[in-house]
Symmetry: C2
Subunit: 180 residues, 2 copies
Amino acid sequence: MPTTLVGATVEGKPNFVTIAHVGIMDLGSVSLGMAKAHYTNVGIKESGTFSINLPSTDMVKETDYCGLVSGKRVDKAQLFHVFYGNLKTAPLVAECPISMECKLIKVVDFPKHDVFIGEIVTTYADDAVLTDGAVDYGKVRPLLFTMVDQSYWMLGKRFAKAWSIGKELKGNKSTEAVGK
Amino acid sequence: MPTTLVGATVEGKPNFVTIAHVGIMDLGSVSLGMAKAHYTNVGIKESGTFSINLPSTDMVKETDYCGLVSGKRVDKAQLFHVFYGNLKTAPLVAECPISMECKLIKVVDFPKHDVFIGEIVTTYADDAVLTDGAVDYGKVRPLLFTMVDQSYWMLGKRFAKAWSIGKELKGNKSTEAVGK
Protein backbone atom coordinates (compact mmCIF):
# COMPACT_ATOMS: atom_id res chain seq x y z
CA MET A 1 0.00 0.00 0.00
CA PRO A 2 1.12 3.59 -0.47
CA THR A 3 2.26 5.20 2.78
CA THR A 4 0.61 8.55 3.44
CA LEU A 5 0.90 11.42 5.86
CA VAL A 6 -2.59 12.30 7.03
CA GLY A 7 -3.03 15.85 8.25
CA ALA A 8 -5.71 17.37 10.45
CA THR A 9 -6.19 20.31 12.73
CA VAL A 10 -6.29 18.96 16.29
CA GLU A 11 -6.95 21.30 19.20
CA GLY A 12 -6.29 24.24 16.90
CA LYS A 13 -2.93 23.02 15.62
CA PRO A 14 -1.79 21.08 12.53
CA ASN A 15 -0.89 17.45 13.18
CA PHE A 16 0.27 14.60 10.95
CA VAL A 17 0.14 10.82 11.31
CA THR A 18 1.49 8.03 9.10
CA ILE A 19 -1.23 5.85 7.56
CA ALA A 20 -0.83 3.10 4.94
CA HIS A 21 -4.21 1.47 5.51
CA VAL A 22 -5.82 3.63 2.87
CA GLY A 23 -8.34 2.87 0.15
CA ILE A 24 -9.94 4.17 -3.03
CA MET A 25 -13.72 4.19 -2.93
CA ASP A 26 -14.82 5.73 -6.22
CA LEU A 27 -12.96 8.06 -8.57
CA GLY A 28 -13.22 11.02 -6.18
CA SER A 29 -13.27 9.47 -2.71
CA VAL A 30 -10.76 7.75 -0.49
CA SER A 31 -10.66 6.01 2.89
CA LEU A 32 -8.35 5.91 5.88
CA GLY A 33 -8.37 3.00 8.32
CA MET A 34 -7.19 4.65 11.53
CA ALA A 35 -6.85 3.03 14.95
CA LYS A 36 -9.13 4.86 17.38
CA ALA A 37 -6.23 5.64 19.70
CA HIS A 38 -4.73 8.12 17.21
CA TYR A 39 -4.78 11.76 18.32
CA THR A 40 -5.53 12.81 14.71
CA ASN A 41 -8.95 11.07 14.72
CA VAL A 42 -10.31 13.68 17.12
CA GLY A 43 -9.32 16.49 14.77
CA ILE A 44 -10.83 14.83 11.71
CA LYS A 45 -14.16 14.40 13.51
CA GLU A 46 -14.13 17.96 14.88
CA SER A 47 -13.22 19.76 11.67
CA GLY A 48 -14.77 17.36 9.16
CA THR A 49 -11.67 17.75 7.00
CA PHE A 50 -8.28 16.07 6.56
CA SER A 51 -5.41 15.90 4.10
CA ILE A 52 -3.63 12.98 2.47
CA ASN A 53 -0.04 13.67 1.50
CA LEU A 54 2.14 11.24 -0.47
CA PRO A 55 5.75 11.38 0.68
CA SER A 56 8.51 10.26 -1.67
CA THR A 57 11.03 7.63 -0.63
CA ASP A 58 13.57 10.27 0.41
CA MET A 59 11.11 11.40 3.12
CA VAL A 60 11.17 7.95 4.76
CA LYS A 61 12.65 9.12 8.08
CA GLU A 62 10.22 11.99 8.59
CA THR A 63 7.31 9.80 7.49
CA ASP A 64 8.21 6.93 9.79
CA TYR A 65 8.78 9.36 12.65
CA CYS A 66 5.19 10.61 12.31
CA GLY A 67 4.03 7.06 12.99
CA LEU A 68 6.29 6.66 16.04
CA VAL A 69 5.28 9.64 18.16
CA SER A 70 1.91 11.10 19.10
CA GLY A 71 0.78 14.63 18.40
CA LYS A 72 -0.39 14.71 22.02
CA ARG A 73 3.26 15.04 23.00
CA VAL A 74 5.20 16.19 19.92
CA ASP A 75 4.64 19.01 17.43
CA LYS A 76 5.15 17.05 14.21
CA ALA A 77 4.21 20.03 12.04
CA GLN A 78 7.70 21.41 12.81
CA LEU A 79 9.11 18.79 10.44
CA PHE A 80 7.43 20.26 7.37
CA HIS A 81 6.39 23.43 5.60
CA VAL A 82 2.64 23.41 6.18
CA PHE A 83 0.13 25.14 3.94
CA TYR A 84 -3.66 25.32 3.71
CA GLY A 85 -5.95 25.12 0.71
CA ASN A 86 -9.62 25.69 0.01
CA LEU A 87 -10.88 23.90 3.11
CA LYS A 88 -8.75 26.11 5.43
CA THR A 89 -8.59 23.41 8.16
CA ALA A 90 -6.75 20.56 6.41
CA PRO A 91 -2.98 21.13 6.84
CA LEU A 92 -0.96 20.08 3.78
CA VAL A 93 2.72 19.12 3.56
CA ALA A 94 4.63 21.23 1.02
CA GLU A 95 7.51 18.72 0.86
CA CYS A 96 5.20 15.93 -0.38
CA PRO A 97 4.99 15.80 -4.19
CA ILE A 98 1.24 15.07 -4.04
CA SER A 99 -1.23 16.41 -1.48
CA MET A 100 -5.00 16.15 -1.38
CA GLU A 101 -7.42 18.02 0.83
CA CYS A 102 -10.52 16.05 1.69
CA LYS A 103 -13.95 16.68 3.15
CA LEU A 104 -15.13 13.96 5.55
CA ILE A 105 -18.30 12.39 4.15
CA LYS A 106 -18.72 9.25 6.25
CA VAL A 107 -17.24 7.38 9.20
CA VAL A 108 -17.51 3.57 9.19
CA ASP A 109 -17.16 2.26 12.71
CA PHE A 110 -14.98 -0.81 13.38
CA PRO A 111 -14.26 -2.20 16.88
CA LYS A 112 -10.82 -0.58 17.18
CA HIS A 113 -10.70 1.61 14.06
CA ASP A 114 -12.46 4.61 12.59
CA VAL A 115 -12.64 4.35 8.82
CA PHE A 116 -12.84 7.91 7.51
CA ILE A 117 -14.22 8.31 4.02
CA GLY A 118 -13.41 11.61 2.38
CA GLU A 119 -14.19 13.34 -0.88
CA ILE A 120 -11.11 14.86 -2.50
CA VAL A 121 -11.72 18.60 -2.88
CA THR A 122 -8.35 19.67 -4.33
CA THR A 123 -5.19 17.84 -5.34
CA TYR A 124 -1.83 19.65 -5.33
CA ALA A 125 1.08 18.27 -7.35
CA ASP A 126 4.66 19.46 -7.48
CA ASP A 127 5.56 20.49 -11.06
CA ALA A 128 8.67 18.33 -10.73
CA VAL A 129 6.59 15.10 -10.70
CA LEU A 130 4.55 15.90 -13.81
CA THR A 131 5.15 14.52 -17.30
CA ASP A 132 3.15 16.29 -20.02
CA GLY A 133 0.94 17.82 -17.31
CA ALA A 134 -0.03 14.56 -15.60
CA VAL A 135 1.30 12.98 -12.40
CA ASP A 136 4.11 10.52 -13.14
CA TYR A 137 4.55 8.04 -10.27
CA GLY A 138 8.03 7.25 -11.52
CA LYS A 139 8.88 10.82 -10.48
CA VAL A 140 6.73 10.80 -7.32
CA ARG A 141 8.65 7.76 -6.03
CA PRO A 142 5.93 6.81 -3.52
CA LEU A 143 6.84 5.10 -0.28
CA LEU A 144 5.17 1.69 -0.33
CA PHE A 145 4.46 -0.35 2.79
CA THR A 146 3.84 -3.96 3.75
CA MET A 147 2.46 -4.80 7.19
CA VAL A 148 3.62 -8.42 7.40
CA ASP A 149 7.30 -7.46 7.64
CA GLN A 150 6.76 -3.81 8.62
CA SER A 151 8.80 -2.62 5.69
CA TYR A 152 9.04 0.27 3.24
CA TRP A 153 9.57 -0.44 -0.45
CA MET A 154 10.31 1.53 -3.58
CA LEU A 155 8.10 1.50 -6.64
CA GLY A 156 9.66 -0.59 -9.40
CA LYS A 157 9.41 -0.11 -13.13
CA ARG A 158 6.32 0.61 -15.23
CA PHE A 159 6.07 -2.31 -17.61
CA ALA A 160 2.61 -2.61 -19.18
CA LYS A 161 -0.49 -0.64 -20.09
CA ALA A 162 -3.80 -1.46 -18.42
CA TRP A 163 -6.91 -2.10 -20.54
CA SER A 164 -4.42 -2.99 -23.25
CA ILE A 165 -1.92 -5.81 -22.63
CA GLY A 166 -4.75 -8.27 -21.93
CA LYS A 167 -6.13 -7.76 -25.45
CA GLU A 168 -3.60 -10.37 -26.58
CA LEU A 169 -5.85 -13.00 -24.97
CA LYS A 170 -9.00 -11.79 -26.72
CA GLY A 171 -10.46 -14.19 -29.21
CA ASN A 172 -8.94 -17.17 -27.41
CA LYS A 173 -11.61 -19.83 -27.96
CA SER A 174 -11.32 -21.44 -24.55
CA THR A 175 -12.17 -18.17 -22.82
CA GLU A 176 -14.73 -16.71 -25.21
CA ALA A 177 -16.80 -19.81 -25.96
CA VAL A 178 -19.44 -19.36 -23.29
CA GLY A 179 -21.53 -16.50 -24.59
CA LYS A 180 -21.73 -17.86 -28.13
CA MET B 1 -2.40 0.37 -5.60
CA PRO B 2 -2.16 -3.41 -5.73
CA THR B 3 -4.11 -4.91 -8.62
CA THR B 4 -6.41 -7.73 -7.55
CA LEU B 5 -8.64 -10.33 -9.13
CA VAL B 6 -11.95 -10.28 -7.31
CA GLY B 7 -13.92 -13.51 -7.48
CA ALA B 8 -17.60 -14.17 -6.87
CA THR B 9 -20.23 -16.70 -7.80
CA VAL B 10 -22.56 -15.01 -10.28
CA GLU B 11 -25.62 -16.84 -11.57
CA GLY B 12 -24.20 -20.07 -10.18
CA LYS B 13 -20.79 -19.76 -11.86
CA PRO B 14 -17.37 -18.44 -10.77
CA ASN B 15 -16.45 -15.07 -12.22
CA PHE B 16 -13.45 -12.76 -11.83
CA VAL B 17 -12.94 -9.04 -12.35
CA THR B 18 -9.83 -6.86 -12.10
CA ILE B 19 -10.00 -4.29 -9.30
CA ALA B 20 -7.23 -1.97 -8.07
CA HIS B 21 -9.47 0.43 -6.16
CA VAL B 22 -9.10 -1.57 -2.98
CA GLY B 23 -8.60 -0.54 0.63
CA ILE B 24 -7.62 -1.75 4.08
CA MET B 25 -10.17 -0.90 6.76
CA ASP B 26 -8.85 -2.48 9.95
CA LEU B 27 -6.44 -5.39 10.42
CA GLY B 28 -9.00 -7.96 9.26
CA SER B 29 -11.22 -6.12 6.80
CA VAL B 30 -10.80 -4.79 3.29
CA SER B 31 -12.79 -2.78 0.74
CA LEU B 32 -13.44 -2.91 -2.98
CA GLY B 33 -14.57 0.16 -4.91
CA MET B 34 -16.49 -1.39 -7.80
CA ALA B 35 -18.39 0.46 -10.53
CA LYS B 36 -22.04 -0.58 -10.36
CA ALA B 37 -22.01 -1.76 -13.97
CA HIS B 38 -19.78 -4.75 -13.10
CA TYR B 39 -21.43 -8.16 -13.47
CA THR B 40 -19.55 -9.36 -10.35
CA ASN B 41 -21.39 -6.91 -8.06
CA VAL B 42 -24.61 -8.90 -8.46
CA GLY B 43 -22.89 -12.08 -7.29
CA ILE B 44 -21.28 -10.42 -4.28
CA LYS B 45 -24.66 -9.09 -3.14
CA GLU B 46 -26.43 -12.40 -3.74
CA SER B 47 -23.90 -14.68 -2.03
CA GLY B 48 -22.57 -12.25 0.59
CA THR B 49 -19.06 -13.54 -0.18
CA PHE B 50 -16.16 -12.72 -2.48
CA SER B 51 -12.46 -13.43 -2.91
CA ILE B 52 -9.48 -11.15 -3.38
CA ASN B 53 -6.59 -12.72 -5.27
CA LEU B 54 -3.20 -11.06 -5.72
CA PRO B 55 -1.70 -11.88 -9.12
CA SER B 56 2.05 -11.66 -9.61
CA THR B 57 3.55 -9.57 -12.40
CA ASP B 58 3.83 -12.60 -14.71
CA MET B 59 0.02 -12.87 -14.67
CA VAL B 60 -0.36 -9.38 -16.16
CA LYS B 61 -2.06 -10.52 -19.38
CA GLU B 62 -4.67 -12.71 -17.68
CA THR B 63 -5.27 -10.04 -15.04
CA ASP B 64 -5.72 -7.24 -17.55
CA TYR B 65 -7.95 -9.43 -19.68
CA CYS B 66 -10.32 -9.88 -16.70
CA GLY B 67 -10.77 -6.11 -16.70
CA LEU B 68 -11.41 -5.92 -20.45
CA VAL B 69 -14.29 -8.39 -20.86
CA SER B 70 -17.50 -8.95 -18.92
CA GLY B 71 -18.51 -12.20 -17.28
CA LYS B 72 -21.91 -11.66 -18.88
CA ARG B 73 -20.32 -12.68 -22.16
CA VAL B 74 -17.09 -14.56 -21.37
CA ASP B 75 -16.28 -17.40 -18.97
CA LYS B 76 -13.17 -15.92 -17.35
CA ALA B 77 -12.89 -18.83 -14.89
CA GLN B 78 -11.48 -20.86 -17.81
CA LEU B 79 -8.25 -18.88 -17.48
CA PHE B 80 -7.45 -20.22 -14.02
CA HIS B 81 -7.56 -23.24 -11.75
CA VAL B 82 -10.41 -22.31 -9.41
CA PHE B 83 -10.81 -23.65 -5.88
CA TYR B 84 -13.17 -22.99 -2.97
CA GLY B 85 -12.44 -22.61 0.71
CA ASN B 86 -14.45 -22.39 3.91
CA LEU B 87 -17.11 -20.06 2.52
CA LYS B 88 -17.91 -22.44 -0.39
CA THR B 89 -19.16 -19.61 -2.64
CA ALA B 90 -16.06 -17.43 -3.06
CA PRO B 91 -14.04 -18.77 -6.01
CA LEU B 92 -10.28 -18.51 -5.50
CA VAL B 93 -7.50 -18.43 -8.12
CA ALA B 94 -4.89 -21.15 -7.55
CA GLU B 95 -2.33 -19.38 -9.77
CA CYS B 96 -2.32 -16.29 -7.54
CA PRO B 97 0.32 -16.50 -4.81
CA ILE B 98 -2.04 -14.92 -2.26
CA SER B 99 -5.82 -15.40 -2.09
CA MET B 100 -8.29 -14.30 0.55
CA GLU B 101 -11.88 -15.36 0.97
CA CYS B 102 -14.10 -12.67 2.46
CA LYS B 103 -17.53 -12.37 4.02
CA LEU B 104 -19.41 -9.23 2.96
CA ILE B 105 -20.12 -7.14 6.06
CA LYS B 106 -21.21 -3.79 4.62
CA VAL B 107 -21.96 -2.02 1.34
CA VAL B 108 -21.28 1.72 1.19
CA ASP B 109 -23.29 3.27 -1.61
CA PHE B 110 -21.70 5.83 -3.95
CA PRO B 111 -23.44 7.37 -6.99
CA LYS B 112 -21.77 5.05 -9.52
CA HIS B 113 -19.92 2.58 -7.28
CA ASP B 114 -20.69 -0.08 -4.70
CA VAL B 115 -18.01 -0.16 -2.04
CA PHE B 116 -17.99 -3.68 -0.64
CA ILE B 117 -16.44 -4.11 2.78
CA GLY B 118 -15.48 -7.66 3.64
CA GLU B 119 -14.02 -9.46 6.60
CA ILE B 120 -11.18 -11.80 5.62
CA VAL B 121 -12.13 -15.33 6.67
CA THR B 122 -9.13 -17.26 5.34
CA THR B 123 -5.91 -16.29 3.55
CA TYR B 124 -4.15 -18.79 1.29
CA ALA B 125 -0.47 -18.31 0.43
CA ASP B 126 1.69 -20.29 -1.96
CA ASP B 127 4.64 -21.83 -0.06
CA ALA B 128 6.90 -20.41 -2.76
CA VAL B 129 6.26 -16.82 -1.60
CA LEU B 130 7.00 -17.43 2.09
CA THR B 131 10.23 -16.57 3.89
CA ASP B 132 10.50 -18.10 7.37
CA GLY B 133 6.77 -18.84 7.28
CA ALA B 134 5.61 -15.28 6.50
CA VAL B 135 4.52 -13.74 3.20
CA ASP B 136 7.45 -12.06 1.43
CA TYR B 137 6.21 -9.47 -1.09
CA GLY B 138 9.55 -9.61 -2.84
CA LYS B 139 8.56 -13.15 -3.82
CA VAL B 140 4.87 -12.34 -4.42
CA ARG B 141 5.86 -9.69 -6.99
CA PRO B 142 2.47 -7.92 -6.83
CA LEU B 143 1.11 -6.13 -9.86
CA LEU B 144 0.83 -2.46 -8.95
CA PHE B 145 -1.45 -0.02 -10.76
CA THR B 146 -1.73 3.72 -11.32
CA MET B 147 -4.93 5.17 -12.76
CA VAL B 148 -3.52 8.46 -14.10
CA ASP B 149 -1.51 6.72 -16.83
CA GLN B 150 -3.39 3.40 -16.74
CA SER B 151 -0.20 1.49 -16.10
CA TYR B 152 1.08 -1.60 -14.32
CA TRP B 153 4.25 -1.40 -12.27
CA MET B 154 6.56 -3.78 -10.46
CA LEU B 155 7.34 -3.54 -6.78
CA GLY B 156 10.84 -2.17 -6.24
CA LYS B 157 13.28 -2.93 -3.47
CA ARG B 158 12.61 -3.14 0.27
CA PHE B 159 14.82 -0.49 1.80
CA ALA B 160 13.78 0.42 5.34
CA LYS B 161 11.97 -0.87 8.41
CA ALA B 162 8.80 0.83 9.58
CA TRP B 163 8.45 1.95 13.22
CA SER B 164 12.22 1.97 13.17
CA ILE B 165 14.05 4.21 10.66
CA GLY B 166 12.24 7.30 12.01
CA LYS B 167 13.77 6.77 15.45
CA GLU B 168 16.82 8.61 14.13
CA LEU B 169 14.79 11.83 14.41
CA LYS B 170 13.75 11.19 18.01
CA GLY B 171 15.15 13.59 20.54
CA ASN B 172 15.48 16.30 17.92
CA LYS B 173 14.73 19.42 19.96
CA SER B 174 12.81 21.26 17.26
CA THR B 175 10.25 18.45 17.00
CA GLU B 176 9.98 17.37 20.63
CA ALA B 177 9.87 20.75 22.35
CA VAL B 178 6.14 21.21 22.47
CA GLY B 179 5.04 18.76 25.13
CA LYS B 180 7.74 19.76 27.56
